[in-house]
Symmetry: C2
Subunit: 477 residues, 2 copies
């Protein structure tokens, strides 16, 4: 297929590639039809077809039957992806809380370019239909709902969650689901149900700072596992740790781990479950990002693969439709009684009307269409972000290629210090998450996470450019 | 004022007293006007006035300027009030969780006569205006509110809470307030901010089982103080405990303690604060019921009296307007950073729209009128309940006379076992809270708490009668 540039079809392929490279055509966008290309470039249909097949071979376009050609991914980025992480081989006490409340405050500050917290923007989510259902529930169900929910939370909502889970082969009874205040409460309930203070939890590294903060608040220790940006934890390292140490539980993101975006392939998930079963160690699964996949199929959660029933599944609606509603859930058969006891003791139950409204929203259909729309939006944002990073950041910067979610992780050439960079960025009105808060062992100082959770604008483009310039001036010899 | 029964005004006074005794006139109800009494009883205005003054002297009626005469309280009940409690003089590990989830489930079961959980009925609260404001907020503010709130919660709501607190002399900045998931989360954040597992907390005895459950979940011990049904804890016992033991914090209800209904007089509150200051022990104040007072003035919270700033104040809107909204708050200057850190780690933040709606509700006025209405309703319910108890329960039953809130506490003659009574009552479709769950030391087996949180109906009247009959058959020799 190698061909000189003077072949017509190669010219056409180059033209389409340029459109993708400069952002005119974003990931998932429909490419010009063959007929349109023939007309515009004054070529024959067979030449156009030859060009598009070349682009398919190169992975720039993909054909969809009866639909046409679509941009398969951004151009092959010149940036490398980060290598597998190398955390310490010892359990670590967690103490990262200092900066986190600040990051939350920055996230609420409209004056800052929002590259910090992984909170999808309300404009992008466009959850007006859910709000209208809440308004209706408040009018129609206000009297009925002005009381505490049953301990597990709204029964209708739990039914809808159970019904959706069957789509990806997860058989869970509404009785085995409890509604929580976001995934944060789900994870804290899961952790306290299977651990006591001082215990050690094995986690991915880097891992979401909110999880580290929960672990810190519960006085647990972490054992950070080497983690690869595409396929997740190092299985051998996990097996070794379980053999050599007292690991009380594992806490892994099943899909599109925040911040790396990694997802373990199914075989690896099976292998993880097997080694955990051998050591009788429970798995806490954080599947917050599972619905935001860019590929053809939703990754399968551990819980759907676990025949032993030792997985405690945690997720939420905060990343897909309603961060403002604070509704998450926890699914577990074996540990439900402990979970309910602790929930009753610490928060009693969540508010009734938002749960009723979300149940109505799920029951009325349209959530899948909503998910398709936001997946496309996040995928396009990541493509734009990757392009902007490549333009602006210093040579040698590595960046992840997540297949879902809406964050990217950057590894910058040393001696970059992302805390220093953050201070400089805040002065320029830009916020991001510095790398070290994703580790309990003060790693990743030269890394940072950028959120792609807002619609792409010139302001964000400029923000990334400024951030890259600041990074360049820090890393320049 | 002593007069023979053949005086006309005494006849009239007896007639009105009968109306109060048989429940025709309930506490807070308006008595027939003087003119109406003259007409009905064919007496002169001066005789009517003499009768009503006698009833005032006897505390049956009270005159309200420019308004007329009102029933001051139920008739002097024949039942005695419980004596001061006698808990053990040793710290106790808490383990009461078994029954509590069941009690919550009973509370949600419409088939049961609802004398169990202290959850005000939605009919009685009639919070439709709040629901309409939620509907409006969902329509108007949905986009703005579909994100995480700032760490402390909705700023408008915190301003309104601070503004209301000034009414009873509590000067608190909105910056020193954080919104929580009901008073339960407020108390659990307060406890974890000043204690670590294994520490001992001094509490009232009996005390609300939810508080005991929170303490149990946090692996704390309790030191239960002797507590009197009108004026609260035994100050000398507190002073002694602080002197002799390592008490890390105290947790007291400032007003209308659940279940006793006791309120410490201001001088006692001052004395408590003084002895706590001497030992540098912080006070966690649970003021959930403070707004539901039947007297002329709201009791002053500890926080308003504490010049040292060592009180952590917790309250909620669950008892006064919206159990279904799950909105409480915690007020503290000194411990705010720890509170926010822990809240971030365990639940992140609460949902935004219910907070915005409640802020609108408070700002728009009318909450005070709402409170006046429900205070009257709860006071009447308690009067009806007391009367029904006296009719039905065995001789020797003692009952509290709360000056606020909506629960009464019964001490029955031994060998009554309230767990056995509960099992029998559930079979008859009646729910209540057995006495032992209000103690960490398996006390109060012969006690029970009845909730007066639902509008008084023949069904509830029958329920109390049945319960009394069951108790009688258990205590009969």
């Amino acid at each position: 297929m190698r061909a000189g540039p003077n072949y017509r079809y190669e010219d056409v392929a180059q033209f389409i590639t340029t459109l993708v490279d400069n952002g005119t055509l974003v990931v998932g966008a429909r490419a010009p039809s063959l007929r349109a290309v023939c007309r515009q470039r004054r070529i024959s249909l067979s030449t156009a077809l030859q060009a598009y097949r070349l682009l398919e071979d190169r992975g720039v376009l993909e054909a969809r039957p009866q639909s046409g050609y679509y941009v398969a991914r951004g151009r092959t980025s010149a940036l490398r992806t980060p290598a597998i992480s190398q955390p310490p081989a010892e359990p670590t006490t967690v103490a990262i809380s200092g900066l986190l409340l600040k990051l939350m405050e920055y996230a609420g500050d409209p004056a800052l370019v929002p590259l910090g917290c992984a909170i999808p923007s309300a404009e992008l989510l466009a959850a007006g239909r859910l709000d209208r259902l809440l308004a209706r529930a408040a009018r129609v169900k206000g009297l009925r709902c002005n009381t505490y929910t049953e301990p597990r939370g709204d029964a209708g909502l739990r039914r809808e969650i159970a019904r959706r889970a069957t789509q990806w082969g997860q058989a869970v009874s509404p009785q085995d689901i409890a509604i929580t205040c976001g995934c944060t409460e789900a994870l804290s309930l899961a952790l306290t149900s299977v651990t006591k203070p001082g215990d050690t939890i094995a986690i991915e590294s880097p891992t979401y700072f909110g999880v580290l903060h929960t672990i810190e608040a519960l006085n647990l220790k972490v054992f950070e596992l080497p983690t690869e940006a595409a396929t997740g934890i190092d299985l051998a390292a996990l097996a070794q740790a379980l053999k050599m140490r007292r690991i009380t539980a594992c806490l892994f993101a099943s899909s599109f781990n925040n911040p790396l975006g990694c997802t373990m392939p199914d075989e690896k998930k099976h292998a993880v479950l097997e080694v955990l079963a051998r050591h009788e160690v429970p798995l806490i699964e954080d599947d917050t990002y599972g619905d935001i996949y860019f590929g053809k199929e939703r990754p399968t959660p551990f819980m759907a693969l676990d025949r032993r029933g030792s997985t405690i599944y945690c997720s939420s609606f905060s990343k897909t439709v309603a961060p403002g509603y604070r509704i998450g859930w926890i699914a577990t058969g074996r540990h439900m009684q402990q979970v309910l006891e602790r929930k009753h003791a610490l928060t009693l139950c969540g508010p009734a009307l938002p749960q009723a409204a979300l149940a109505d929203f799920l029951a009325s259909g349209g959530y899948d269409a909503h998910l398709r729309r936001i997946r496309r939006a996040f995928q396009q944002n990541i493509a734009q972000m990757t392009r902007a990073i490549e333009k602006a950041f210093p040579e040698g910067t590595k960046v992840t290629r997540p297949a879902g979610g809406f964050v990217v992780w950057l590894e910058l050439p040393r001696p970059l210090d992302s805390r220093v960079l953050l201070a400089q960025a805040l002065e320029k009105g830009i916020c991001f998450a510095p790398g070290d808060v994703f580790s309990a062992s003060d790693r990743y100082r030269n890394c940072l996470r950028l959120s792609c959770a807002h619609p792409w604008t010139a302001r964000i483009e400029r923000g990334v450019a400024t951030l890259g310039a600041l990074a360049r001036s820090q890393t320049r010899p």
